[in-house]
Symmetry: C2
Subunit: 156 residues, 2 copies
């Protein structure tokens, strides 16, 4: 049912990466994490709220002619822990993996402590250690601030 | 060629609105103008950088089961003046129109003057008069500030 519904919306891509099983509502945040803004040079398709048997509703992102590496996509786990990555070549899925929560999250999330050095004008990237995965608990490496909810609202 | 390329990516929708011929790079701004965030309840498809015969590359936004009214979409003309709106019922295009630049733009664009009352904490929506369409020239109804470039960067 899920794949049939999706088939109605977007046909397979020739080459590239399909990020499937994104929590509904998180597709635009996934683009943000991947650094895909309006002016990407790749063809990108975004599907929001597609009916999904397993998830009720889900989002899907397809990036053509770009094969995303695990280290590029793992941070997606912060906001879409069930996301699956499919690498497509010549319409075939040649590789499939789940996102795996990274141990450190660097330069992606803003620290919730306004006095943290990573929020100052210093040339310092934000840096968190992932202390727990389910539920997500991040600790700032500079000021020890703990971030454990609304992670998506803290995307830089 | 253009429709063939698109056909490769997204099949027709059953009911709803297709916004076609959006300037490449502006799809996410179109969502912003329409107030479609991550948590829309409609199924939404976004295509970025689709090859287009007439435009080189274009973006497309499809909103299922929602028929957008001209007054909802006209503000899109600010950032995508060539956009066309197709209303779909039962897989047929029942209405097709171009976006038409509105005479006033209210609550969509931030005034570039930091001292403008619309940038204060007063309960005042930003308000611009469209003085010229091509190129776009907007004048703030409160402080007369003129906005004539990078309109998309001033979206609220």
């Amino acid at each position: 049912m899920a794949s049939k519904e999706r088939e109605l919306r977007v046909k397979p891509i020739n080459n590239g990466t399909v990020i499937d099983h994104i929590e509904a509502g998180q597709a635009l945040n996934v683009l943000k994490i991947l650094g895909i803004g309006g002016h990407t040079r790749h063809v990108v398709s975004v599907l929001m709220n597609v009916p999904s048997g397993a998830m009720g509703a889900k989002d899907v992102v397809k990036v053509e002619d770009r094969e995303l590496e695990p280290e590029e996509v793992d941070t997606i786990a912060l906001i879409a822990p069930r996301a699956t990555i499919n690498i497509i070549r010549n319409y075939e899925v040649v590789e499939k993996f789940r996102v795996a929560m990274p141990r450190n999250v660097i330069g992606i999330i803003r620290c919730g402590n306004p006095n943290c050095i990573s929020n100052s004008n210093e040339p310092v990237s934000s840096r968190f250690v992932v202390e727990s995965m389910d539920p997500v608990l991040l600790r700032c490496s500079y000021c020890e601030f703990v971030l454990d909810k609304n992670i998506a609202d803290h995307l830089l």
